[in-house]
Structures are given as structure tokens and as C-alpha cells.
């Protein structure tokens, strides 16, 4: 159920990101003279101060926001898998090094680190922001994966594979990795949420490329244009809601996966029977 609602939300946004721009066509940055209009038939979600159509921006922004989220989550997950699985499987000095590294990145507060790193970024394109977020965001996944790898590598089927002569890398990727897929999926999804939030935060601070339209940069402009003060709720409400909704969708899917793995977590309908 949760998975379904969550996936529904995600599919909606994914479709919006992929096909929305084709349908709408307009340039999200295109300005016009009817600035600061409330929602109307011409502008479903109203306009910004410079007359940009907010719906168009939301649709295009979905691409950037989700793109950054996905890209950095992919990078972070690859890092996490490499560090977590390899360290966890081989143990020894590699593992010690990896886990100290992981723990360091885990304890260092990531948003300030992102802010500091982004502050130095020469090119604040989508890709570089994604990389910065990924670099600071892989540690949690690596830690979880390492712990899981440690337990999985002790399992008999791994021992059995080793006993039957499989090579380490094949064991890691064919025996252990599939078992960890749900864990990887949850950590991936959590990273996506984190990355979208981080991108929004960065843009909001004006530390990302503001000439590309993302939900975060929309919020930045809304804040800069004092949307709050002039009562232009239609300007700052939609981007934030979209971020929260995507996050909710991802979280729902995540909790759904958790519940499949751990059925106890499900919400239950208590039958009024004598128990």
C-alpha cells in the first residue's frame, strides 16, 4: 500500500520531469510583463515577479532537482557499495581504513561541509553540485552496507560459495550484492531524499547555479523577491511542496521496502477479537 502510494507520487514526478517540458515547451526562464500574478487560467500557478510562469518552472525544475538527486545518489551509492562491500568482505586493514574514513564522513556535519565545499566550487553546474552532495553523503550507506556485509559474509551460503571455489569479487557481486539489494535500495532512496534536500538548501542559499531553474533556485528567487512579505504564497509554496512530496514518495517506498523485509513494522488493523 505504502509502496503503491509512494511509487505513484514518484512516477507522477518522473513523468513530469521527462515529458512535462516537452508538453509545456515554453522556456522556464522566459520573462513576461505580467509579473506577480496569482493563479489564473493563463498561469495555473501564477507568475514570479519577473513574470515567469511558475508551473513551467516547477515542471522544468523537476528535471534539475530530481536529476541532481538521482545523480548524486547514484554516485554516493556506488561509493557506498564499493567502500561498504569491499571493506566488509575483505576485513583487515582495508576495512579498518575504510571504516575510519566512513565514520569520519559520517560524523562531520554534511550540510556545513557541502556549504563550505560549494562555496569553493568554481563551476556550480548541476553535475558539480551533485558530486559535492555525493561526496558528503555516501557514508551512511557505506556504514549500513558494511554492517550488512559483515553479517552476510558470515552466512553459510557465502562460506559455501567460497568452499566451492568462487573468487572474492564474484562472491561480492554475485552472492552478497543481490542479498543486499533491498538495503542498497533503501539507502539509495534515502540518499536521493537527502540529495534533493541538500540541493534545495544550497540553491536556497544561492550557492548553486541560479541561472538553471530548480525547485531550490525557485525558492531562492521567491525569498529574494520577498514572496512572503508581499503575500505571493503561490511563489514559495509549490516548490517546497514538490520537494516534500517527492521526499514523502521516496520515504513511503522506502518504508514499504523496510516493511517487506521486517513485517513487524507494518501498521495493523487490530481485530477486536479476544486475544
Amino acid at each position: 500500500m505504502k509502496i503503491r502510494i509512494g511509487a505513484g507520487i514518484l512516477v507522477f514526478f518522473a513523468l513530469m520531469a521527462i515529458f512535462g517540458p516537452l508538453l509545456i515547451g515554453a522556456d522556464p526562464a522566459a520573462t513576461s510583463d505580467d509579473g506577480l500574478q496569482g493563479p489564473s487560467a493563463a498561469h495555473w500557478l501564477g507568475t514570479t515577479q519577473t513574470g515567469q510562469d511558475i508551473l513551467t518552472q516547477i515542471v522544468y525544475g523537476a528535471r534539475i532537482s530530481m536529476g541532481v538527486g538521482l545523480l548524486s545518489a547514484v554516485i554516493a551509492t556506488l561509493l557506498a557499495v564499493a567502500v561498504g562491500l569491499v571493506g566488509g568482505y575483505f576485513g583487515g586493514a582495508i576495512d579498518e581504513t575504510f571504516s575510519v574514513l566512513t565514520n569520519i564522513f559520517l560524523v562531520l556535519p554534511s550540510l556545513p561541509l557541502i556549504i563550505v565545499l560549494a562555496g569553493y566550487l568554481p563551476q556550480r553546474g548541476v553535475a558539480s553540485v551533485a558530486v559535492v552532495i555525493a561526496v558528503t553523503g555516501w557514508a551512511w550507506g557505506a556504514r549500513v552496507l558494511r554492517a550488512q556485509t559483515l553479517s552476510v559474509r558470515r552466512r553459510d551460503f557465502v562460506e559455501a560459495a567460497r568452499a566451492s571455489g568462487e573468487r572474492p569479487l564474484r562472491i561480492i557481486f554475485f552472492e552478497i550484492l543481490p542479498v543486499l539489494l533491498p538495503v542498497i535500495a533503501t539507502s539509495f532512496l534515502a540518499t536521493v531524499v537527502g540529495a534533493i534536500l541538500a540541493e534545495a538548501g544550497l540553491s536556497f542559499l544561492g550557492l548553486a547555479d541560479l541561472s538553471t531553474v530548480s525547485w531550490g533556485s525557485m525558492l531562492y528567487f521567491a525569498q529574494n523577491g520577498q514572496a512572503l512579505l508581499i503575500g505571493a504564497w503561490w511563489w514559495f509554496l509549490p516548490p517546497g511542496l514538490c520537494i516534500a512530496l517527492i521526499g514523502t514518495g521516496l520515504a513511503l517506498v522506502n518504508f514499504g521496502i523496510d516493511e517487506i523485509a521486517n513485517p513487524r513494522l507494518r501498521t495493523i488493523k487490530v481485530r477486536k477479537a479476544r486475544t
Partner: protein, 333 residues
Amino acid sequence: MSGEIVLEGRNLTKHFTAARGPRGRFGKRPPVRAVEDVSLALRAGTVTALVGESGCGKSTVARLLAQVYPATSGEVLLRGERVRAHRGAAFRDYRRQVQLIFQDPFASLNPFHRVRYHLARPLRIHRHVRSNAHEQELVAELLERVSLTPVTQFMDKMPHELSGGQRQRVAIARALAVRPLALIADEPVSMLDVSIRLGVLRLLERLADESGLALLYITHDIASARYFAEDITVMYAGRLIESGDGESLTQSPAHPYTKLLLASAPDPGRVTPPETTRHGEPPSLIEPPSGCRFHPRCPVALPVCSERVPGRTELGEGRWTHCWQAEETALTR
């Protein structure tokens, strides 16, 4: 005594140190003296049982024999040759000849792979297959050997679609796929339901008989060892205590611990219920008792028991024990 010695462990000792092994979250542990000076030989076509209570080091012996990890000291010999390599082709060759079967059939198959994959991988790794058709043929043959018929039906099942007994059979088939000389079964049935244990044990027995495999059957159930093994070796707290052929060992145990074990095992057929006294807990392997490790619980302990480790006393007919009492009787005899 049938068959030649296939696999032999000589004076195997294993201490787990902190750096390896599962380290607790909270700092280092002192070394665990899990196995001390264990020698064991497996013969072709013979089932040998290794019996002992939980935590006494049975699995560790099994893993040492299978070279899952290296021994702290002592050596493993395969057909009389010392095993040296721990990686590379030579080691893979060793792996091919000695195979393990695990306790928990629910954990020993990867839930993501089909039965076919589990059987085909070892065949491929060890280059037993020539073509896809050949692979199919060999897999079918393996399934038949472990009585999973009709084979076509089982080939494409996922582990979760199998019952515990069926899984254990798949695990056995996988071990057989590499065509080993020796098979080490670590409590292969203790996780299975009583009613289906028998089938798996019979299968193992048959394999030893028919294929001439050397089989080590590890169990804490001495009664089943009596039924399925020709030789029984009893272990206590990391050391061997007594060994001999199944029937005579169970009927006339020499070591006080074996006696205690036999007396404690539930048996409705017993004529008089055994008298029970407190024996205390099994010892810690981190700081094992000095001398004979059983002496704190032993009803007939001698002063020497706490001082020196008893040597092996041959009792004839292939039986021997490590006990100062037995030593004395042997001397006086």
C-alpha cells in the same frame, strides 16, 4: 577399519585473536582457545562422527579441515600430503577435494539463485562441464543422486520454495558437484525437523557407502552418531577426549565425560533414570581450566588432572582416550 586415510588433521590448534573474527562493538577480546591439539583422520567410504557439546569447537575443527581459515598450529594432510597453499589454483584444487555441508539449510543457499545456479557454479568453476547441454545433464544427475526427483521440477526452484530437507539435499548436491574426496557435514540435520532428519542422514550414509567418500559427521547428538557413524570421536572444550568405534564407545565409555554425556542424553529406553548431580557449566575457552579441561566437573578427578594434560591412552581395537584415570588403569593392567 575400511578405506585409506583421505584427510587428516594433525595436532590442529586454533586460537581466535581479536583482529580477526567478529569483533564486538566494544573493543578487543582476549584470544579464544577454541581448538587445542586435535588430530583426526577421515577414511574413504567411512563415516566418522565428531561429538561434543555446544561451543566445544566442533565447527572450528571442521573449518580447519576444510581450510576455511588457517590453523594456529598443526597441519592438514590430504592423502598424506601437507596442504600449504592458501590461495590460487593449488588451493582451489584442495577446495575441490574437501567440501563442507552446513548446519542451517535455510542459510546455506543464496536466496537469490535457483537450484540450477547453485549446482552449475561449482561445475563450471572446476571445469567439469563442456557445454550447456552437458551442464544440464550433470545437474540432473546430481539432483538424482540426492533423490530430488523429478529433477526437472526441482532444477528451477528458488530456495524458498523448498522445504528444509530438500534444501539440505541441494546443499549436499552442491558439495558433490565438485566431486570431492571428503565431505564434512557440520550438524547437517540439527536444524531439521525430527521427522525428516532421518532421510538426510540416510542419504549421507549412502554417499559414503556408494561413492567411497570420506565423511565427517559433526553432531551433538551422540545417539545419532551411534547409528550413522562407524567411528566416534568425542570432544570437550576444544580438546579430544575419547575415540573409538561407535558401538563400543557408546556402550562402554572410558572417559568420565563420555559417561556423563551418555547418561545425560534423554532416552526413554533407559532402565533407571540417571542420578543427577550438579556438574557446573562448561568452561570458558578464553581461560580454559589447567590440565585436563574436564577436571572441574569430573566426579573422579585426581590431583594430577588439574596439573597436566593427560596424554593419549590406547585402549585397543582402535580406541583411545585422554584421561589420567584411564592412564592409571592401563598402567596397572
